[in-house]
Amino acid sequence: MAETVTDPELPTLTLADLGVLRDVRIERGTVVVEITPTYTGCPAMGVMRADLLHALHSAGHRDVEVRTVLAPAWTTDWITVTGRRKLAEGGIAPPGPAPDRPEGPIPLRLGSTRRTAACPLCGSPDTVEISEFGATACKALRRCRACLEPFEHVKEI
């Protein structure tokens, strides 16, 4: 049941597709659901939590607890194969592999980003980044040079 709950801002994807749903188990008669935020400030967390409670209550589970898990931090690598396919079908380019996380100082990147993404509309690999920050915290904005359409790209984190 918890696996069918969808993301409020990407409604074709379930929380499981996104890798936000970390665990569902029963502890002494209570359904315990663990979710992790994509970004620290993700305003959709409250809605996700409420949707989960609503779905499980509607399914007849009276005692439900939704817990937040902060560690390990969410990464786009947790978006499932199904999730990536659904993103592309919805016109949003799925993320590439997440960047390495070095233990020491984080290297500075001042050049244009090396990120690439094929256009989810026409399939052309010839696309350019317009902005690293899009309409939601998790997306960047790109434009296709072949079909000229702008599109969103879930940025690697």
Partner: protein, 303 residues
């Protein structure tokens, strides 16, 4: 499940249709289910105070950045600034909730109604002298170049601190830092690219970028000086002594400014902590009046 007409109706289902406090998110307990045990040998008041330092920096800078919304030079940049502010607000929320979880609430709890969560009580119901943010984040934005110069400096320092804080003995701080590092890397590099574009742009953009850097640099006088709280918590393996990030911060800023063809100003002489000790200029009070005014006038408002 019967799906709601709008996603926001779902919020009402969860709370029995009671509505939500208008100035929060309606999502209580950002640390719900997180183990908030204080590590052995650590004074909870020190831990909470340190969380206020890191949380207030994020809250105040988020508020400053938000002042660009509707006024940024281009739409994409406005969205970028709002995204950076939102990330910082998220960090502030968790850090202030962590302070609340160990009972560090200052005078806020006596002013805020009981229904207001700790982190919102801390944000909206403390006086300026209870804030632990530095002057670096409270300073007015100035023009766009100065805003980017300040964001570059603030994000560089915060990223260097958070990268080390991933090893904190406090598991909550370590988790917040690990998430924050991923976000702050985007903030620092974004501001750095703007400095390059402005510094190595036209004569006018270069002049403004240099002016921005020259205005921001004096604000660095107290950012590398640890407070007693930071010194004690660093010894306990919980905090990061800001003095230990100085070399890395100066190297990063030197590299950006060099590539941006900007002159590196002299580093100011170290002073005792001011903002971290609750000493602030009038600009913080003005900013907080904006941030807190509505919540204080309608302290139990819901929508």
């Amino acid at each position: 499940m019967a799906h709601e007409e709008t996603v926001y109706e779902a919020l009402d289902h969860a709370s029995g249709g009671e509505g939500h406090w208008a100035f929060g998110t309606g999502f209580d307990e950002p640390l719900a289910g997180v183990d908030t045990t204080v590590p052995d040998g650590v004074d909870p008041v020190d831990l909470g105070t340190y969380c206020l330092m890191l949380g207030d920096d994020a809250l105040v800078l988020a508020q400053r950045l938000t002042q660009w919304v509707t006024a940024a030079p281009e739409l994409e940049e406005e969205v970028a600034i709002a995204n950076v502010a939102l990330d910082l607000l998220g960090q502030a929320r968790l850090l202030l909730a962590r302070a609340g979880s160990v009972g560090v609430l200052g005078r806020s709890r006596s002013r805020a109604t009981a229904s207001i969560p700790d982190e919102d009580a801390l944000a909206y119901f403390r006086e300026p002298d209870e804030f632990r943010s530095t002057a670096l984040v409270a300073a007015p934005n100035g023009d766009f170049a100065r805003t980017m110069a300040r964001l570059l400096v603030a994000a560089t320092i915060r990223l260097a601190v958070f990268a080390r804080l991933r090893e904190s003995r406090d598991s909550v701080l370590a988790a917040i830092a690990a998430k924050g590092v991923n976000e702050l890397t985007y903030h620092r590099d974004h501001a750095g690219r703007w400095l390059l574009r402005l510094g190595d742009g036209t004569a006018e953009s270069h002049r403004r970028a240099q002016d921005g850097v020259d205005t921001v640099w004096p604000l660095l006088a107290d950012v590398f000086t640890p407070t007693d709280v930071e010194t004690r918590l660093t010894a306990a393996g919980v905090a990061v002594d800001p003095a230990t990030v100085r070399a890395e911060v100066q190297a990063v800023l030197g590299e950006v400014l060099g590539r941006a063809t900007l002159r590196l100003p002299d580093w100011p002489a170290d002073t005792a902590p001011r903002g971290r000790a609750g000493e602030h200029g009038p600009e913080l009070g003005d900013l907080l009046a904006d941030l807190q005014g509505l919540a204080r006038q309608h302290p139990a408002a819901t929508w």
